[in-house]
Symmetry: C2
Subunit: 763 residues, 2 copies
């Protein structure tokens, strides 16, 4: 289908596009979302790379007594744009999460007296951290640069998948240092570092590992470090000498040039003489398995010291990734929003496997990935909604590997559960539902995952029957999670019901009638928490009595997670018609949605809302959290689909901006960005597991999606403008779309999707 | 050579021997040395087995501030005969050490209310520990049995190399338990457990690991457990909930039947219904590498539940081991001493490798042992003296593997040093010298180790040039370790000089003249700390001035480790003639030795002597520590070799007894026992690295050593009796021995060693 004719058509239809094709990474602005609640990181990485080498401006001081000192959620990505100092550059970062764990292997260049403590933002002179200025900062895909003001050291970063490459340009000094702080971490606290080992193999090679307890309960990051120049001297400090049994290691001077270190808390200084303007490079390779694998990863991916080549190679891979969707848009700001969203939707999950195929499994054993690339960091409560569907569209092979990774996780799980929120050979059990089920089912039904479907179904069923987890036992017995045993009984019930519907779809396809019957029944469990008397989902106790004291506007303590019942009552993505009927029909739903988007709420209802700012909200619609991501599309089944079109354009304009505070809430591992990308292209997967995309209002002027199967989808939007947000006509390959829906199957056959826009709502 | 003729000769010469041959393990009494300072363990193990499954009666409460609570050295082997209670049965034990680290995976059967704390010896009712009676205790090679009085539970233990097999016979109860205390350990303290993971795979299978910091700085023991009967229920307790980030794991009830546990400190109870007299068996396999390897070890070595077969198989391997030396002795007590010594000299080092050949290296990486069995726990300051020479005689293949293990350790060492005191992928740097050099050189010169001799020499040289270790830099620069930088400057100097002589011997053999010259010069460094003015070795400062305040009788603070200068001044095993000359000739040496053995010292000189009791001392001769082990043989080069003969018989009679307190000092990983065995056979390796054994006075009536090369040595002692301690004649294959020496080479050719004894000293 990639005929010359089609290519010619492309040239004709999208005259502005060609320019973009040649250099899409120019539109990637990693600093977007780094201020306030976006929780993105500005540093260097390659698509889905194992290493995210990025500056950290502070960490969350988390106290073990459950009390937090400071802003709980501020430093999930390690960097906050408004901070005045950089602490150092570490190698692992989540993108857009509301919690964290990483920030491993922090490196900082300094000069003069060795300082092994970071100091504070107020008094950077007391530590190794440095003030910096955004005017001296450059953040590109796979390249980050900043001038560290304290000692006028230029810091540059790039990566390969498993290796971070640092280039520091020093002023002249006989006391230049690279500080290696292995105690540093995001969400840090005193007992976080379980154990640390460092072995200095020679005057320019260090290996070791950092083992932590935290969000990931048992996590070990192995590393290998090489410097381009031999260090003339090195020092080490055990921060916790009292806790470590020193024994006869006291025979050695372990502080100076001692190559064999192990303790809970280790910091090191590598010392150099530098000429003025001398560059010292450092490569840091990571491994989930061993120090020798980290070394092998480095040898394989980053054998030499050609910094520019690593930048170029990584940027080339970004260019390839971004080129999967070529768009023309109304203005450059939109191009930046679009490609930065693509960038943010190509960071996580991350590769979690060495070049030799080995990885650490959930069972804490070393495994060999056979026939797939193993990924980690699945924020599934977020990403099942639009991120994984996006992968099915533009990255099916990766998504198949992600499903394989989930299946491997399941096989390694002693609880016999697919991942909930898994990272680094752990599950942290964050958020609710069992939404890997949605991802697995959707990938199988769409033909993306070609592994053993029956085994996958068994894994889904087993997960859905994990009675001990989050009220599932109650859910199975009563048809809903009873209020008494869960603070999020209603959202759990709703999410389980959706997931159960997914399982039913897969069972149906595989001809497993018993399973289908069981789970299609469970799929209706959302009805059991709907209180007709108030027209909302509402917590219910074991006796079937709804909770008496209930606030439909309040987010906290009402039986929901990250949302109030106004938003959550719409969470029946798999049975939206039945939901609408339950609510009283199309007009009632339309009125409900109108109210949701327009009501004016006092601030008090948002004071404790997590992960978003006031910006993330339109009326009572909360876009900054995920439960409502499908909501604006629900007008499609009322008499007023034009309201979907208006709302999605409004949300895009309201929630996605260029600029450091450009994201209204946590990007959540690409879910917020994936919503943007689908919506900007004109359609959205309301219920993954279903074949249908729902039509919204495209923001692009035109687009070309280069499918992995070699086919292409072109999207042409006639009369696109800021005002023309309404869809007058939409057709696929010349045929008008029925019911404002578009099937995945149709899209994967390639062809031309054509919109005609107008400023008149299609009432 | 094993001709019928020789066999017939054997029958004729050793009429009492045949009986012994058929059942030698009857003479093994594992309880010998378990009272007071022997520090042996009474539990079950196979020769050099990876698992030592043994009862622990308490542990050393060691405080991180360096202050000990209680008796520092009492519980190195976990068991003290005089203790009234048993805490539980753990799987790893050193034999005869003066420090410890092990006691991993403690199991205890109980009934009634679940108690997860051990309680105290005074109040066993407050915990899971139980009183017991020695009248209900049986300790054999690879079999241990005891009745636990508290609940009348019979406990039986046996092992394969990597698997401990427990058999508990319970009274009837619906609340029978197996307590699994993963916080327990020998030399325990609060922060010792770095991390612990437990995964309950099904109702009768558990895997996990225990990671500790201690004498071994970074040590992880992986385990797999199976029970013969499904547990009906299980519970877990995190002892340190406050230190662990619980996060969303709080969603689960982690205390009851929760299979996925990780924390610093974990204890568990496995619950059973038992009929009266019901046996519940448990198998616990260990691995240095992984949980799956532990499972594989179990499947390979202990696939079924036939307890008796495991006892028999292990006892058969003991019988084979003991049959390497068949002896006839004056009485049964001597037979018990002899074969118990053989038993104690066949416990350590231990196999440290899975059945698939994988092991954890010093570099904390997983390695595959190629062509050798990897061993760990090398207490080299002790064992280079007689234990490894004994291995060269009766276990050369094992000793070659031990040298290979040392070479692998060296290859993995970032400090480029052969082991000092290594166990479990660590070096704990205990004691002085670099005596692996002695073992390596002796094994090469004797043709035992057939690996790369040049690489071995390079490793020895590199180790001897580790300037940063224990004053080696000073030793190289000054010819002695200067007093200012080491509390044991003199003993270090003496031991280095001996080790250097060993290196010189290997260099000579390999034609490495430069190395030979360098190290034969260093071999004389003992002369540099000899103070002619007082006739003793004495600490000397960097300026060459001997320390002014010096007590030749005091052990502590005088520049020596575990010995005073009276003993240490004789520590020139490689150049005894030169030493004698330095001391003033044969008569002076004889007088010196006479004084050593006969002087009467006040108790104060022994109050702080480590690792021995007053029993371990004859005059000022300290047999309970190792530095003097060659001393009694030194009379051989005076005019009075008969005094050697008298003294060694005296020492044997004084220091080695049947009975629980039968050892006068720590058995030190078989070194004390190896001294006994050589001495009882009539010869001793005064200077390993030298081919010569020095003749003493045999205790055996006759002996037959079955060499690995298929040849045999018979030892016939004519006129042997308690009184006839003097050697009138000694010949090998009919030829009188020259100079009261016997060469290894001659022995390995097989033949007959004949002694004729008398009660008249050969003045």
């Amino acid at each position: 289908m990639k005929s010359k004719q089609l290519l010619y058509l492309g040239l004709f239809l999208f005259p502005n596009l060609l320019q973009a094709q040649s250099n899409l990474i120019q539109y990637v602005k990693p600093l977007i979302g780094t201020a306030r609640m976006g929780h993105t990181f500005p540093g260097a990485t390659v698509p889905f790379g194992a290493v995210q080498l990025s500056p950290d401006t502070d960490t969350i001081p988390y106290a073990m007594n459950g009390k937090y000192n400071g802003d709980v959620y501020k430093y999930c990505a390690g960097y906050q744009y408004d901070d005045p100092t950089i602490v150092g550059f570490s190698h692992t970062h989540f993108s857009g999460t509301g919690h964290s764990d990483l920030g491993d292997i922090l490196v900082m260049p300094t000069q003069g007296k060795v300082q092994l403590n970071p100091g504070t933002a107020d008094r950077p002179q007391d530590g190794y951290r440095s003030p910096y200025s955004h005017s001296n900062e450059v953040a590109e895909a796979n390249y980050y640069k900043v001038l560290l003001d304290k000692h006028q050291i230029k810091a540059e970063m790039t990566t390969t998948s498993r290796v971070g490459i640092h280039r520091y340009t020093f002023p002249k000094s006989d006391a230049s240092h690279l500080i290696l702080d292995l105690t540093a971490g995001i969400y840090n606290y005193e007992a976080k570092n379980v154990w640390t080992v460092v072995r200095v193999l020679n005057d320019s090679t260090i290996v070791g590992y950092r083992q932590t307890n935290g969000w990931a309960r048992t996590r070990t990051v192995y590393f290998a470090i090489k410097t381009s120049k031999a260090f003339k001297n090195y020092g080490a400090k055990y921060e916790d000498a009292k806790q470590v049994y020193a024994g006869f290691w006291r025979k050695f001077d372990q502080k100076n040039n001692f190559p064999d270190l192990a303790a809970h808390q280790i910091k090191m200084n590598l010392d150099f003489d530098t000429k003025d303007g001398e560059e010292v490079l450092m490569k840091v390779a990571l491994s989930p398995v061993s120090m020798k694998n980290a070394l092998a990863n480095m040898e394989h991916e980053a054998p030499d010291w050609n910094f520019e080549n690593y930048v170029k190679a990584g940027q080339k891979s970004w260019e390839q990734e971004l080129n999967k969707v070529q768009v023309d848009m109304l203005n450059k700001e939109d191009l930046i929003n679009f490609y930065t969203a693509m960038y943010h939707a190509s960071l996580m999950p991350t590769v979690y496997m060495d070049v030799n195929g080995e990885y650490k499994g959930l069972d804490q054993e070393v495994h060999q990935a056979k026939g797939f690339t193993n990924y980690t960091s699945f924020s599934l409560w977020d990403t099942f909604r639009a991120f994984h569907p996006l992968m099915n569209l533009i990255n099916p092979t990766r998504n198949a590997d992600m499903v394989s990774s989930m299946m491997a996780h399941y096989d390694q799980s002693v609880l016999k559960m697919l991942p909930i929120w898994s990272h680094y050979a752990n599950d942290n059990w964050c958020m609710s539902g069992y939404h890997s089920v949605s991802v697995v089912v959707d990938a199988i039904l769409k033909g993306v995952y070609k592994g053993d479907a029956e085994a996958a179904l068994a894994a889904c069923v087993q997960t859905a029957n994990a009675r001990k987890y989050e009220g599932i036992g109650s859910y199975i017995d009563l048809g809903y999670v009873q209020d008494e045993i869960s603070g999020t009984s209603v959202s759990n019930t709703l999410e389980y019901a959706y997931d159960d519907w997914c399982i039913a779809q897969l069972a149906k396809k595989l001809g497993k009638d018993d399973i289908y019957k069981d789970f299609i029944k469970r799929a209706s469990n959302w009805k059991n928490v709907y209180d007709h008397s108030i027209g909302f989902m509402r917590p219910k106790d074991a006796k079937g009595i709804f909770r008496s004291k209930f606030d439909a506007l309040e987010t906290h303590g009402q039986g929901f997670i990250e949302g109030n019942t106004w938003n959550y009552s719409l969470y029946v993505p798999h049975q939206p018609v039945a939901m609408m009927e339950m609510m009283g029909g199309p007009k009632k739903l339309e009125n409900y949605l109108d109210s949701l988007f327009t009501m004016e709420l006092p601030d008090k209802y948002f004071e404790h809302t997590e992960d978003i700012t006031r910006d993330g909200i339109i009326g009572n619609y909360v876009h900054g959290n995920e439960p409502s991501h499908h909501v604006a599309y629900l007008y499609n089944q009322t008499a007023s689909p034009w309201k979907t079109q208006a709302r999605v354009r409004q949300i895009i304009r309201n929630q996605y901006h260029n600029g450091h505070a450009g994201l209204g809430g946590n990007d959540d591992c690409g879910q917020m960005s994936a919503w943007y990308l689908f919506t900007a292209l004109g359609f959205y997967p309301v219920a993954p597991g279903d074949d249908a995309y729902w039509i919204g209002s495209p923001l692009v002027k035109s687009a070309k999606i280069n499918l992995e199967n070699g086919k292409t989808i072109t999207i042409d939007v006639k009369n696109q403008s800021e005002k023309n947000v309404y869809v007058k006509k939409v057709s696929l390959n010349g045929q008008p779309l029925a019911g404002l829906k578009l099937s995945y199957a149709a899209i994967m056959n390639g062809g031309a999707l054509q919109f005609e826009m107008t400023d008149k709502p299609g009432k």
